[in-house]
């Protein structure tokens, strides 16, 4: 068995209708990472993922999964570059993706 993750986790997916990247927030989906729920406890994260999976059957999202984040002084930062870019947008076009809307007060996008 793989070792239990040491970092807190979040859940993300793509919205079926338009592909928009979304994050899980206790019972529904939000469009900004800083609004999503962070799970310190791996068991709670797994339980939330099971709950989130229902929205696949309900045709709201596609392919939800867990990923690791770091939270420093209340600011969320995904552990991998992939999830950072997904949460912010292309690093070569700051006018595109979530980063184009300047409400990132609790989200650290620096690579």
């Amino acid at each position: 068995m793989a070792a239990a993750p040491k970092l807190p986790q979040m859940i993300t997916a793509n919205r079926l209708r338009d592909g928009e990247v979304v994050w899980w927030k206790a019972g529904h989906w939000v469009e900004r990472i800083e609004q999503g729920s962070v799970y310190e406890d791996p068991k709670a994260a797994a339980a939330a993922l099971t709950e989130a999976q229902v929205f696949v059957t309900d045709r709201v999202v596609v392919n939800p999964y867990l990923f690791e984040v770091r939270v420093t002084d209340g600011r969320i930062k995904p552990a991998s570059e992939r999830e950072l870019i997904r949460a912010a947008g292309p690093t070569v076009r700051h006018d595109l993706g979530k980063q184009s809307c300047p409400t990132l007060e609790s989200f650290d996008v620096s690579l």
Partner: protein
């Protein structure tokens, strides 16, 4: 260029409505994602890092002004005002909404375009030399054969569910601009000893995790037998390829496992069988009919020297620089081939905005250009420009930001979308290309360096052709952090070779420095007339490796 007949038009229109229905069923819950995914992929629709991505086929890289204008309009109306030209000469939209895709396909169908076979395990969009029909070097225009292959392979019942994707390219010159030897199968128009035109067929080339240069399957296939021969290769591949391991499913693995000799034997046996059945002979009248669609425009009889053109070069050094690299010789006196660079220094290789696409379409109409080409090097090409029009065309391109004088130079970099967009990527490609381009921005330095092809992929799938780069760069992921492996000595041209891996990767902020040290060393040790590739082939990896890792501190692993 080719115009749809009633069958093409009906087929594409039906496919649009079929997909509209499939999307509706998916949204209504009648199809699961697992059921829907292969259907959307058959129509070029992927789900990427940020959003859906729609890959639009540009058969053999040829577009009319009407089509280019439509692409610009679609990108503005349904996407974010730009598109990305790829190494398969297709156009990708990075942000379409699933609910809009049926309408996008309908708009594409209105200009005889579609997204069919731009994904999935089928025969993909056929590519060709971007100078086809314009260069004096070619035996004949390769595109009629491309179109015949397109018609033969579209929804071919036997080859709709291959073990893996299958890519075909066609060329007709000795100088290979279409990376023929890196294709699953490639056809080169040749002439035999008796002076008859026919086709040389290669197979088993490819990039990805196991790169191979193609083997010649047959030196000369008679014109009327070409489809029978291609079908024979596909049939052997379809029957004998491994389907148990995703890394061993391409034809290159089969051919290199059984050996080219055995492959030739198996193909020959199938070929004889297909030929004997007599069902796949290419009728001359059909070939002639297709050829008429690709008849060159009515060229004016012009002197080869244009005084306007000559004077403009003397007066305007920027124009002269552009001509030096971006203008190539045309077969018709008084005409030239012009490469439109989509590689502005600091820009995104291959990206074009809606405004640029529409303005280029207007320019085409104004100057009477019937078509524009997409090259696998992610540039556009105006194939038939009167030399006397070149100064005016250049001025317009410059105003649009697409007149960077760098075709074939070190800043004309191929880069895949990488981790900035792609779900498969391990590392970013575009920022690396931008760093290198800025580093070598000085045009005099670029001219001094000469032909040097840098190709960057963000993962081992090699969409950025890094194996074929004189300098290739492969992005890898090490514990969630980007590193870059350097490869030297690759070529996608007629002297095809697979680049050698230098060694441990470089960090994100070290890779441009390493490239610069390698290039500076080349300038130091090159002999007269040697390109980077020639010098590398003469001196080997060691001297370059010795300078590249100067800052050992930053060397990754």
């Amino acid at each position: 260029m080719y115009r749809y007949d009633e069958f093409d038009a009906q087929f594409v229109a039906e496919r649009v409505e079929q997909f509209r229905y499939q999307v509706a069923r998916r949204l209504a819950g009648e199809l699961t994602e697992d059921e829907f995914k292969p259907l959307r992929l058959m129509n070029g629709l992927y789900l990427q890092l940020h959003a859906y991505m729609l890959r639009i086929a540009v058969p053999y890289g040829t577009l009319s002004s009407k089509q280019l204008r439509k692409l610009g309009q679609i990108a503005r109306k349904y996407d974010k005002g730009y598109g990305h030209f790829t190494t398969r000469t297709n156009l990708q939209l990075n942000w379409p909404k699933l609910v809009d895709v049926p309408d996008i396909l309908a708009e594409l169908a209105s200009v005889e375009m579609h997204c069919i076979q731009t994904s999935g395990n089928c025969i993909r969009n056929v590519t060709a030399d971007q100078f086809a029909g314009a260069t004096a070097e070619e035996m004949e225009d390769p595109r009629p054969l491309c179109e015949i292959i397109r018609q033969w392979s579209t929804r071919h019942p036997e080859f709709t569910f291959l073990a893996r994707k299958f890519k075909i390219a066609v060329g007709a010159t000795e100088h290979d601009r279409a990376a023929l030897q890196y294709h699953d199968m490639a056809v080169q128009v040749v002439r035999n000893a008796e002076g008859r035109t026919g086709y040389l067929v290669m197979a088993g080339g490819g990039m990805g995790r196991t790169p191979y240069v193609a083997h010649v399957m047959r030196e000369f296939v008679e014109r009327e037998d070409i489809l029978a021969y291609l079908e024979a290769v596909l049939r052997v591949y379809n029957e004998d390829s491994r389907r148990d391991n995703i890394h061993k499913q391409r034809i290159k693995i089969l051919i290199n496992a059984i050996g080219p000799e055995e492959m030739r034997r198996r193909v020959a046996r199938e070929f004889e069988e297909i030929k004997a059945s007599g069902t796949l002979q290419l009728p001359q009248d059909e070939l002639d009919r297709i050829k008429t669609y690709f008849a060159p425009p009515e060229f004016e009889k012009l002197p080869d020297v244009s005084s306007q053109f000559e004077v403009a070069q003397q007066r305007d050094a920027d124009f002269a620089n552009w001509v030096m690299t971006n203008v190539a010789k045309h077969k018709q006196p008084g005409y030239a081939i012009a490469t439109i660079s989509l590689k502005p220094v600091g820009g995104v290789p291959g990206d074009a905005t809606s405004d640029q696409m529409e303005a280029l379409a207007d320019l085409m109409d104004e100057f009477g250009f019937d078509e524009v080409r997409v090259s696998h090097e992610q540039n556009l090409v105006l194939p038939h420009v009167k030399k006397r029009d070149l100064p005016a065309v250049y001025a317009r391109l410059k105003a649009l930001g697409v007149a960077t004088p760098n075709a074939g130079l070190i800043t004309d970099i191929i880069a895949c979308p990488g981790l900035d967009y792609c779900d498969l990527a391990n590392a970013r490609s575009i920022p690396v290309a931008q760093d290198i381009a800025r580093r070598f921005e000085n045009l005099q330095r670029q001219h001094d360096i000469g032909e040097l092809k840098i190709k960057i992929s963000g993962c081992i799938n090699a969409c950025g052709h890094h194996h074929a780069g004189h300098i290739g760069i492969l992005g890898v992921d090490k514990k969630g952090v980007e590193y870059y492996q350097l490869q030297l000595g690759g070529s996608g041209a007629e002297d095809a070779s697979i680049g050698d891996i230098m060694g441990p990767g470089f960090g994100r902020h070290e890779i441009a420095n390493a490239v610069e040290r390698v290039v500076d060393h080349y300038l130091k040790v090159r002999l007269d007339g040697e390109r980077f590739l020639d010098t590398y082939r003469r001196v080997g990896m060691e001297p370059f490796k010795n300078v590249a890792y100067l800052e050992q501190l930053y060397a990754a692993y």
